[in-house]
Symmetry: none
Subunit: 203 residues, 2 copies
DNA sequence: TAACGTCGTTTCTTTTAGTAAACTTTTAGG
DNA sequence: CCTAAAAGTTTACTAAAAGAAACGACGTTA
């Protein structure tokens, strides 16, 4: 088993406290090798000297901020938040599991929602699975419209995604769409069986 | 004043182009003043010399990564903010579709991420599909841990969900979990094939 | 208004990062 | 094997950052 990082945090006022190394070098090398690049190739992509890259990978230097940025750009190291330590907030240290089909049902005329992970209440996102009963746009009285942003992933079947400012578009299993939920939007099944989608809303 | 690579002569395809630190100095100063701290106080909190802090705030230097880390810790800053462009405007009226398999790949040693809907940049949620290559907890050197909350849905296969404060739990296709991402967490495949999961992060 | 204290900037020196080039190791042919 | 090319590391040097201390600007108080 790997030694688990301590939860105990150093006080902010202790100047000599340990600064998380983040193993930047190891990550850089990992990414480079995964992409099958040589140091020379990365050098060309980032504008950083081959020798410098070698030293970074071997933790022989602490690269400057500009170098780190070049690295991130050139290597496509995105999602930098994955490399960062945590801070505390409302649902601190909590976890909530919902087994398949065990969400909280919320049927409507056109949709059959299944609310997931409903036992954590004050959360940033609301995820739910939905069976799309509707087959035509006419079944909706008006646009659905609410605060926040919405992510939609088609789990099964095919749907037509209608929105106020765009042409309707057909989405198949595995396709996803991210949109501003204050823009009117609705979804209908276009497959013989009711389509199933995952929806995640954030306010 | 420090001599720096010219901004004027740089072009987008030029590998030597200068990557602007996104007003790091301004942000640092902003945070410091918001908290009502003097340079001397920040110096004590971070272990960085007063003079160095002054230079950083006035963009006279490009601080080393170790210094940036100390800053982040001492000021309670958030690393991603430093690398992401600031923008007030929302995604109002926007929509972004990603077809199956057409996301932006981000492979690591243990995961194979596919970032979805990446063309909308300033969004509240970051959705990505991930193939879980790891088979044992030991393949991770340490807990993954970052700001925000995370929603996970198993799309295919079986996984073991490890987290710092709970016992490991097996999740099968269709199961989901919602958790505080600052709690250490990792995932490994337990099926013969690599499991596929959907992850949505909100900060 | 003189003397003091606090804060941010600047100067100066030391330390460290960044690069080009030399060097060593690995890989691929024959 | 041997050799050549390519990849990675180390060296030697230059450029830049970090820290200590000096400086200047400003507010407070006697």
């Amino acid at each position: 088993m790997v030694s688990r990082p301590s939860l105990e945090t150093a006080t902010a006022s202790d100047p000599d406290r340990f600064v998380e190394p983040l193993e930047l070098g190891k990550r850089v090398k990992e990414i480079r090798l995964t992409k099958g690049w040589t140091l020379e190739e990365v050098s060309k992509r980032t504008g950083i000297a081959r020798s410098t890259l070698s030293k970074i990978e071997n933790d022989q230097v602490s690269p400057s901020f500009t170098i780190v940025q070049k690295l991130i750009k050139g290597l496509g190291m995105d999602l930098p938040q994955l490399f960062v330590e945590a801070s505390e907030h409302s649902i601190a240290g909590r976890r909530d599991i919902t087994r398949k089909g065990k969400g909280e049902p919320h049927p409507t005329a056109t949709y059959e929602h299944e609310l997931l992970n409903f036992s954590i209440s004050r959360k940033k996102m609301v995820p739910f699975k939905t069976k799309v009963r509707a087959r035509s746009f006419d079944e909706f009285k008006e646009w659905v419209r609410h605060d926040g942003e919405e992510f939609l992933l088609v789990l099964e079947g095919k749907i037509n995604f209608f929105s106020e400012l765009y042409e309707p578009i057909e989405l198949k299993e595995g396709d996803s769409v991210y949109y501003d939920a204050s823009m009117g939007h609705t979804v209908v099944s276009t497959s013989t069986k009711d389509a199933e989608i995952l929806w995640v809303v954030a306010r």
